[in-house]
């Protein structure tokens, strides 16, 4: 049975099982929307370069529950660092039993419980805000199956000094699986938090992840967000990170893609209040047949906002890289400063890059620029190094490392930076520089 059929087949069963209420009505509307638009094809302008049709026709299992992995497996994916919270999604389902967190600074609840709790106002306010920007079937599909997701509230005035780590583990030992994690983070006034999302898989079958994470950042709060994808090439991924800057606040987001099958990362940064500041960084370093597509939207709604975006890509083997950046400056958003840059290195003739940096500006007193480049390693720089006795492999690695370091430097938690640095060195086939 193809995935498209499985979705139709499972919807009613899961919907009845998950009950009604706030999430129920959201699911219903979203499913209607999904049925109208379906899985996007390359005829859809926003999906021009990324094809999902073959995945949609493959057989994937879709389950509302997950089997807990062994401690051994869990330990193997853990980052070696202290943490304020450790939250596990196993096959797209948030498992509270194996997760742990500090109680004083935050509230952690499964989404369906949160909908009944004292925090339900936040759900009304912020849940599914991403659908305003993501009009395609994938976003609706996630909403249509939202039940046991994750709700996290960082309490007012709390500074969480250690990172919150979300592990997404996809278990594909037996079957192909389709998983849809969903989370909502609310960061209250004056709170500060570092958030890490790490994607790992276990098993040799294929997986297809369709994730939505929504983060609402309130007045004077500070968010650092890191998304790291380190799966195998059997793992396909469509993910949306929706950052809503409700009050005047600061956000810093980094997406790093090292491995995978067909990957699409959507990141939306909505600067809803005046004087907001947002930074977006991304690194995609892929080889083999990996296809990585980074889609970003920066929406400047109110005046005096600042946004900066830098994405860098290294493509080897038969890989393809896609960058699609969109900056909106609305009519009220005078005095906006918005920058966007995308740089790519092609390492082989079978790799390709498609990039589309776009500006849509409706206010006049703004400073906006974008730039993009596609090129290769500078032959003269290579020669310079080789003339000094550094062999070709080392020289290339040195240059690529320097190229990637702009982004790597933006990864503030040390453990994560070391982890990514090590992966890059492994890829370049060197021990250390």
């Amino acid at each position: 049975m193809s995935l498209v059929e499985t979705i139709q087949d499972k919807y009613n069963e899961l919907n009845t099982f998950a009950g009604n209420g706030l999430l129920g009505s959201m699911r219903e509307k979203a499913f209607e929307k999904y049925n109208k638009s379906g899985i996007p094809t390359s005829r859809h302008e926003e999906w021009k370069y990324t094809r999902l049709t073959s995945l949609a026709n493959k057989n994937f299992e879709l389950n509302a529950t997950a089997i807990l992995p062994s401690d051994e497996v869990l330990n193997s994916i853990r980052l070696q660092t202290e943490y304020a919270a450790e939250l596990f999604f196993i096959n797209g389902v948030f498992i509270k039993e194996i997760s742990s967190f500090q109680n004083d600074a935050m509230v952690v609840l499964p989404l369906n419980e949160a909908a009944e709790s004292e925090h339900k106002n936040y759900l009304h306010q912020h849940l599914n805000q991403s659908s305003k920007y993501m009009k395609d079937g994938m976003n609706a599909l996630n909403a249509a199956f939202t039940a046991n997701g994750l709700f996290v509230l960082i309490k007012k005035d709390k500074v969480v000094d250690k990172p919150i780590i979300i592990y997404h583990l996809t278990d594909t030992t037996d079957d192909n699986v389709f998983v849809q994690p969903r989370s909502l983070f609310v960061i209250e006034e004056n709170a500060q938090v570092q958030l890490i999302e790490l994607y790992k898989n276990n098993g040799l079958q294929e997986s297809f992840t369709n994730e939505v994470i929504e983060i609402a950042v309130h007045e004077n709060a500070k968010l650092e967000y890191y998304k790291v994808q380190d799966e195998t090439e059997n793992c396909h991924h469509v993910g949306t990170t929706h950052v809503q800057q409700v009050g005047k606040c600061f956000t810093h987001c980094v997406t790093v893609t090292l491995n995978g099958g067909t990957i699409r990362n959507n990141i939306n940064m909505i600067l809803e209040a005046p004087n907001n500041e947002g930074h977006l960084y991304g690194l995609y370093m892929v080889d083999g047949k990996t296809h990585v597509d980074n889609h970003s939207i920066v929406d400047n709604v109110m005046p005096n906002c600042f946004s900066n975006e830098l994405y860098k890509g290294i493509m080897e083997g038969n890989s393809t890289g896609v960058f699609n950046g969109k900056i909106y400056v609305r009519q009220d958003a005078q005095k906006t400063n918005a920058y966007q840059s995308n740089k790519n290195v092609l390492m082989s003739d079978t790799a390709s890059v498609n990039t589309k940096p776009q500006l849509e500006i409706y206010a006049d007193d703004v400073k906006c620029s974008h730039g993009c480049t596609v090129g290769r390693l500078d032959n003269e720089a290579l020669f310079y190094l080789r003339a000094r006795g550094i062999d070709e492999k080392q020289a290339k690695a040195l240059l690529l490392n320097a190229f990637a370091s702009d982004i790597l430097e933006q990864v503030k938690p040390e453990a994560l930076r070391t982890y990514i640095g090590k992966k890059i060195n492994e890829r370049l086939n060197i021990d250390e520089l």
């Binding site: 589309k356 906006c368 480049t373």
Partner: protein
């Protein structure tokens, strides 16, 4: 400088000075579009059978996509009723003019008023002109002189009759009839346009030019231009256009094909000044144009355009860099004011080795207009060592207009280098202050800065056009600054 002030003063009095209507009797087709209309056009033009067949084939293809009018562009307009357009309208002339002297004086006056000289004696302008009004070409100047060097310059209708081999070989080779919605429509109903062939190794001694004028009401203009530069030839070609002021929108859907064979060079300049509609956005021309050129080895095609008119502009002059070492260039200034909408840009398709392309696009938006740059740079697998540089700058005058950039960059070759950069800003207060300090008033200062902003493109225009284009720039923005 003094010229700038003069222009501004002049234009304070008149908004669109080409908006008059010439009262001439016209020979028209009935409203509507069907196979009979196409047969009617073909018959009027005394076309051979193969041409009619070609048109009908295009029409049948268009019918199959009739409901699929493209919607991807960043423009909005009410649905066009293709049955409510007149597809053929020609000024009635008792006998076909044997020479330029026999042209209806009323028509001659019209072109004089537009500043286009149909007098060959008037050597001052030194440009050969093909004048097209509504659906027919009324005359081409300097034909005999050009023929001495083997250059063919005539209307496309004439070319179909007298040079069928060349037309058959090249027409539709760059823009096939199935290329897009408007190209299919044009292929079916095109009425006139220019044809030019430069033989091997010939450098065309003068600028060639076509002047397009829409006059009749409810009429669409569907021009078709075909330029062929044989090996080693060179030609510089200019195109200008105007239309009367009317309350309803009129459609202009053109196809321009350029063929530059090995080592040839074509320079194609456009100053587009169709009626843009009034200050409330009523009326104006819908300009849907497909322009494309193909380069052989070592050939060069350069597009320069100054877009100031039209209610809607939908135009992407492109170059297919097929041969090795070919060069493509695109220079554009697009100005929108009031309720105008422009979605314009270019496509550079790198196929051959060592191909180079350069894109410079300057957008200026004022009033409530929207101005978009949309471009594609594609580097194919075998386009080793190809190089592209694109620069798109936008200038915003006023807080109700929009400037948008949609560049597409697709690279499949690791030895090529592609660069794109774009900026958007308004005129800086410090720049105005600097000028004020030196005794230049604000309005002049703005004109000065805009001129400087567009200079890189203006410099590419042939002398005769540059002056006119500069004036146009000032006219289009008149009333939007200060």
């Amino acid at each position: 400088m003094s010229e700038m002030i003069e222009t501004l003063e002049q234009t304070a009095l008149s908004d669109y000075k080409y908006g008059f209507v010439t009262d001439i009797e016209a020979d028209e087709a009935p409203l509507g579009l069907n196979e009979d209309i196409i047969r009617f056009i073909s018959q009027k033009k005394c076309e051979p059978e193969w041409m009619l067949k070609w048109r009908l084939k295009a029409f049948r293809y268009w019918l199959s996509i009739e409901d699929k009018e493209p919607t991807w562009a960043n423009i909005s307009y009410p649905k066009i009723d293709y049955q409510n357009i007149r597809y053929y309208s020609a000024p009635k002339q008792k006998i076909a003019p044997g020479s330029l002297d026999e042209i209806d004086p009323e028509l001659r006056k019209t072109f004089d008023k537009l500043g286009i000289s149909l007098n060959e004696q008037n050597r001052l302008s030194g440009i050969a002109v093909d004048a097209v009004i509504d659906s027919v070409s009324i005359g081409t100047t300097f034909k005999a002189q050009l023929a001495e060097q083997g250059i063919i310059f005539c209307s496309i209708t004439e070319a179909i009759q007298h040079h069928p081999d060349l037309v058959k070989k090249y027409m539709g080779s760059v823009v096939p009839m199935t290329d897009n919605y408007f190209a299919a429509l044009n292929s079916a109903v095109f009425t006139d346009g220019s044809f030019c062939y430069i033989p091997k190794g010939v450098r065309c001694p003068m600028e060639l030019s076509t002047y397009f004028r829409i006059n009749a009401e409810n009429t669409g203009q569907f021009e078709r231009t075909l330029l062929v530069a044989d090996e080693g030839a060179y030609v510089s070609y200019l195109e200008g256009c105007t239309a009367p002021m009317r309350d309803e929108n009129q459609l202009h859907a053109a196809v321009v094909e350029l063929v530059a064979l090995d080592s040839a060079e074509i320079k194609y300049s456009t100053v587009q000044n169709w009626y843009p509609g009034d200050k409330e956005g009523k009326g104006g021309i819908y300009n849907f144009v497909t322009k494309r050129g193909i380069c052989g080895a070592n050939a060069k095609i350069s597009w320069t355009q100054v877009e100031t008119g039209s209610a809607i502009t939908w135009k992407y002059p492109s170059v297919i860099l097929k041969g090795d070492n070919a060069v493509g260039e695109f220079y554009s200034v697009a100005v929108t004011n009031n309720f105008q909408q422009a979605d314009t840009g270019t496509k550079m398709l790198h196929v051959g080795k060592n191909t180079r392309s350069r894109i410079v696009s300057k957008g200026i938006s004022a009033g409530r207009s929207n101005n978009s740059y949309r471009g594609l740079v594609q580097v194919g697998k075998n386009a080793h060592h190809s190089r592209n540089f694109s620069q798109c700058d936008s200038l915003l005058l006023g807080d109700k207009c929009g400037a948008h950039t949609f560049p597409y960059i697709e690279t499949k070759n690791s030895t090529s280098i592609v660069e794109h950069e774009a900026t958007t800003s308004k005129i800086g207060e410090d720049q105005i202050f600097y000028c004020n300090q030196r005794g230049i008033d604000t309005e002049t200062a703005i004109a000065l800065i805009i001129n400087g902003f567009a200079k890189e493109v203006m410099n590419q225009l042939p002398m005769e056009f540059a002056v006119e284009a500069q004036k146009l720039l000032a006219i289009s923005l008149e009333g939007s600054v200060g």
